[in-house]
């Protein structure tokens, strides 16, 4: 028992001592030469979405709960090792324990998990799984491929053109938009731009293997499955330039499968879309 008490005190002491270091802010990372907005440390990345705080709260509660369980069970385990160690004259018993405290503890855990599920997880997930009306939201198709992200915007007419693998040109038409119909004004980009404060629906798909569309600052993560188009939505509330990463090991260059997400005011977003929607410039060799 003494050992368990000492171990607990040492662990708690280390946590208190190390906590300032754990909370220190590191330099903001830069990806491919572009500075990423926000402070990054050992904790959560910056939260730039409307729903992000709910996810963070859930993660914090779950971690505290796991911490309590870990320490509680650790102490109990250490206690049992010492209290019921092999000694002359003592024999192991195989009867179920009938003490009430363990029942209360188990009931407490079950009740807490129930509260966690009903009061925190379900409201957060109900919101996450209830996308806004596509007619009022910004619609973007996100097409993953080894090892890049393609972002397909419907253009001025608000309608996505038909896509077909036969139209794919890896240099200028990565998603295979048919430019003859509604796709003539579609925009294909290697950067994801979204307007701040507006609901954005991303339809996630993949051209080859399973990827995962992960935007840490938006607390958004959704697998990209070949043959499926899976919606995920968010509302960004902070402007800045952040990272999109692939969160599913997809091959030898998975680590390089990144893109930039630029969250910007509506007027800047419109200007960017207008510029990207212009016909590609004729290339003249120098």
């Amino acid at each position: 028992m003494k050992f368990a008490a000492v171990a607990t005190v040492v662990l708690a002491g280390w946590c208190v001592w190390a906590s300032p270091a754990l909370g220190q802010q590191a330099d903001a990372p830069s990806t491919v030469g572009v500075t990423i907005t926000g402070d990054y440390g050992y904790g959560f990345p910056p939260d730039a979405s409307e729903h992000g705080h709910e996810m963070d709260r859930l993660i914090v509660i779950v971690h505290w709960f796991m911490g309590v369980l870990f320490v509680g069970w650790g102490v109990f385990f250490a206690y049992c090792l010492v209290r019921f160690r092999r000694r002359p004259g003592h024999q192991a018993g195989y009867d179920m324990i009938k003490a009430k405290p363990s029942k209360y503890a188990e009931l407490g855990v079950a009740v807490f998990e129930g509260v966690l599920l009903i009061s925190f997880s379900m409201p957060a997930w109900t919101k996450a799984k209830s996308p806004p009306d596509p007619a009022t939201a910004v619609n973007i198709r996100v097409v993953a491929e080894q090892f890049a992200w393609n972002f397909h915007y419907p253009g001025k007419d608000g309608k996505f053109g038909k896509t077909d693998p036969k139209h794919i040109d890896t240099a200028i038409n990565a998603v295979g938009v048919d430019r003859s119909g509604e796709g003539k004004d579609d925009v294909i980009s290697g950067e994801l731009h979204v307007p701040v404060g507006e609901a954005v629906i991303c339809q996630i798909s993949s051209k080859d293997v399973i990827h995962s569309f992960g935007v840490p600052v938006l607390r958004v993560k959704q697998d990209a499955m070949p043959g499926m188009r899976i919606p995920v939505w968010f509302k960004a509330v902070k402007t800045g330039t952040y990272e999109v990463a692939c969160a599913q090991l997809c091959g030898n260059n998975h680590y390089k499968m990144k893109a930039l997400i630029v969250i910007e005011p509506r007027d800047q977003y419109d200007a960017w879309l207008e510029k990207k929607g212009a016909p590609p410039k004729e290339f003249e060799e120098e």
Partner: protein, 241 residues
Amino acid sequence: MNRFVAKVLFTVGACLASGAPLWAQDTGVIKGKIVFKGDPAAYSRVEIDTSKDPNCGKDGKKIGTENVVLNKKTTPVTVRNVLVSIKEGLGDRKYTAPTDKVVLDQKGCHYEPHVLALMEGQPLTIRNSDDTNHNIHFLPKVNEEVNVTQPQKGMEKDVKLVKEDVFKVKCDVHPWMGCHIAVFTHPFFFVTKEEGTFELKNVPPGKYKVEAWHETFGTLSMDVEVATGATVEKDLTFEPK
């Protein structure tokens, strides 16, 4: 007599050292242009959006599409990056690959050259001249696959292609990057450059089928008869519908 033997040995040695065949004096030349007939405006090159990797083009240099590169300044308009080679007529002749190293460079986030031709067994070096990560991926039909990451500038990788083949090469990190490699059993091949002309030198006398291959326009062929010491001049015309 000794002087004659020395001359013969010198000639043989010089030929071997230069890679020129011993029968060079008894050969002919096939030359010509690859002409484009049609509307050049329909095949204009466009700038490639390289925003997926801001390291590409950070020096301000743009890159353009290379699936069709026309030389509009020439009359008639000619085509660049066409692979011209002898397809039939060499019989059982065997040729030794030169030891000159051929380099496929990843520079400015595109490949240089766009069409690379070499002989079976000729040393090939893949180089990364960019300050970014490239993953070169050969997609051969009969040779062994090459799939190599070169994360740092200046990295090189030597490879050998030992079978006749024509195949595509891509970069797994930058989807717009692509080029083609052709491997031959003989040295009679040429890739057209700015002028859109080709020249096959040291061709032994005989009747041949010469083929021109272009990644977008497909293949054309022509029959050619080469006489000793003669230069045959014949053009090929791509006329896309």
